[in-house]
Amino acid sequence: MSAAAQPVGRARTQDVSEVAIRARGLTKRFGNVVAVDELDLNVDRAQVYGFLGPNGSGKSTTIRMLCGLLLPTAGDIEVLGYRIPEQAEMLKRRIGYMTQRFSLYEDLTVNENLDFVAAVHEFDRARARKRIAELFERYWLGDLGDRLAGTLSGGQKQRLALAASVLHKPDLLLLDEPTSAVDPQSRREFWDSLFDLVDVGTTILVSTHLMDEAERCHRLAILDHGKLVADGSPRELMDALPGAALLVECAAPRKAQAALTGFADVVALAQIGANLRVLTRGGDNTRDAIARHLHDAGIEARVEPTSPNLEDVFVAATKRVSRKPPAAEAHA
């Protein structure tokens, strides 16, 4: 199966083999707090689908509901053709779940952990040995077999966790902020492994708040306060960005930032080295207005359009629902 990232229509496909996850009106309330709010999701098979959102946006809660660990307050879920939560036990044989926190046994060795996971999935001894040898090979566990899991480095732990969650060759792999605790090199290797899995038809659902990770996903859903605020492929999202991203090159970026804070149509400001990156709602007019404003404020600056990146998309999407700062209203 190819990993084509075509946008999926809302068509009610009866062919479940194309859709790995379908959720309608998914809602979870904890007391008065709405953690997930009326979420509609479509995830195709054999692709990496990312949940991007700030902490507390409902990413983990959504993932947990999708694999039947949490009971949704409302909504319909269908995962790999199973109705969740009713058929969650059957689903559990076909999913792998890698938690945010290392959740294997730190006081067991790598071998013992994998033996245990294999037994849990009802592998007989010979099959388990063969599969574990395969995993050692694929995830560079090398001679770590007799090391206690608790003594492994962040990257090693993560490879072990991935090996454990794909040991039974699940059709769907759920990853909850998998690379928060590892260095960029390990992260790159980790993503290579994920794409290997996609090549053999695995669907991967990953939650993250890291832009470079989000950029690698075939499709992305941006969550904010439990709501789906944008979804599509990273390219689509960037192309569909309302407004424009500008690069302000000047000698005093901090002064420029102060001058532009609260300026009309400015969504976000971020200093990138010596430059100031400005995300605006408007088009060329806004760019001219900003250049004029800086000039009036006595700041010599060149204001150039730049290609929007995923962070811009993320900021624009999550700003839209959150309240505008009062200063901006005063200017407008």
Partner: protein
């Protein structure tokens, strides 16, 4: 329930236990330490109670009774009195805790058997003394009132019989050691299980397991099974040390001892599982385990006699598994009783297990919320 999965959980648990040196040491260390501590230190049995004797009969018979009582070493006759008033004075001054009074018509009372032949006066302000002396008073009188013939094996010279069934030397360890098995098992079984199960939750392992086909039943039974073995090891340690060091008899069959220990272990493990469903952290489970531990020990009859408790305490004690186990194990080890004699205690333990485990299962769900 999948046997291979269950076995894998047991193996995993044993491997973890082997690495947890402290817990491993406690499994054998706790019973040994407690046995030595309680065996030597707890002695509720009074010896050498300061006493006076007022022998108004002054016959050969009365002197034999006094000698026989003196030989028990429970009373140490420091004073030999002739005037009843002196006895009152000594008691009030606290110089003696008990006094033996033999009336002038002692011989006649023995023959006619119309009245109690002698009297032990006790300082009632000390509860423990009172109890000890009361027991003492009860024992020889039984023989005096009913002077048996040659058929009575416990008979001493002078027809004064010191009847002390089951613990003739009145050695405390004989009473303490069997009950100690209950104390140790209650402490370790409830605590270890509750903590072992909660640890899985606290360390985040549960979040992984919950997304696998492992069922809560498999997980619980798999985690608890190793502790059954550990409980039996602890029982063996206490039995071995108890017989070797303190010469505690095992008058019943070993099978009955282990069978009742096993039933009690399972009851305690169920309680541990139940506690684990209420606690979020290992610390909480430890507190809950101790909260249960103290009343079990105090009310079980291990330390204080069940008969002396008010009915609410007795009623509560009937619920606790340890109460039933103390009765079982004392019956089997000291009185040579069999399980067929003590089956109501087994039934009580069984009911406790079923009810508590039922509650625990109701509270366990394989979800995170």
């Amino acid at each position: 329930m999948n046997l291979r999965r269950l076995l894998s959980i047991v193996i995993k648990e044993l491997r973890q236990l082997r690495r947890d040196r402290l817990t491993f040491a406690m499994i054998v260390g706790i019973p040994t330490m407690q046995l030595l501590l309680f065996g030597y230190a707890i002695n509720l049995d009074i010896r050498n109670l300061d006493a006076a004797v007022l022998d108004q009969a002054q016959t050969a018979h009365s002197r034999e009774v006094i000698a026989a009582l003196g030989e028990t070493h429970v009373m140490n006759f420091k004073y030999r009195l002739t005037v009843p008033q002196d006895l009152d004075d000594l008691l009030r001054a606290g110089k003696i805790s008990a006094g033996l009074v033999i009336p002038p018509d002692f011989e006649r009372r023995l023959i006619v058997q119309d009245r109690v032949p002698m009297q032990i006066v006790v300082d009632g302000s000390d509860q423990v003394t009172q109890q000890a002396a009361r027991q003492l008073a009860a024992l020889p009188l039984a023989g005096v009132i009913n002077p048996g013939g040659a058929s009575n094996p416990n008979q001493t010279a002078g027809n004064v019989e010191i009847v002390n069934f089951y613990n003739p030397q009145r050695l405390a360890p004989v009473n303490t050691v069997p009950g100690l098995i209950g104390v140790i098992l209650t402490m370790t079984m409830v605590l270890f299980t509750a903590m072992a199960i909660v640890r899985e939750r606290e360390r985040g392992n549960l979040e992984f397991l919950i997304a696998t086909p492992v069922s809560p039943g498999e997980l619980t039974i798999g985690k608890v099974l190793p502790f059954v073995g550990i409980g039996l090891i602890q029982t063996t340690v206490v039995l071995l040390l108890g017989t070797l060091i303190f010469h505690v008899p095992i008058r019943g069959t070993l099978f009955d001892v282990y069978a009742s220990a096993l039933v009690f272990i399972i009851a305690s493990l169920s309680l541990g599982v139940f506690i684990s469903t209420m606690a979020q952290t290992q610390f909480q489970s430890m507190q809950l385990a101790f909260f249960n531990f103290l009343p079990q020990i105090l009310l079980s009859g291990f330390m204080f006699p069940y008969a002396g408790m008010p009915w609410p305490a007795q009623w509560l004690a009937e619920i606790f598994p340890m109460t039933h186990f103390v009765r079982l194990i004392r019956g089997i080890m000291l009185r040579g009783a069999g399980l067929s004699d003590l089956w109501p205690e087994l039934v009580s333990l069984g009911v406790f297990t079923v009810v508590v485990l039922g509650f625990a299962v109701m509270r366990t769900s394989k979800r995170l919320d």
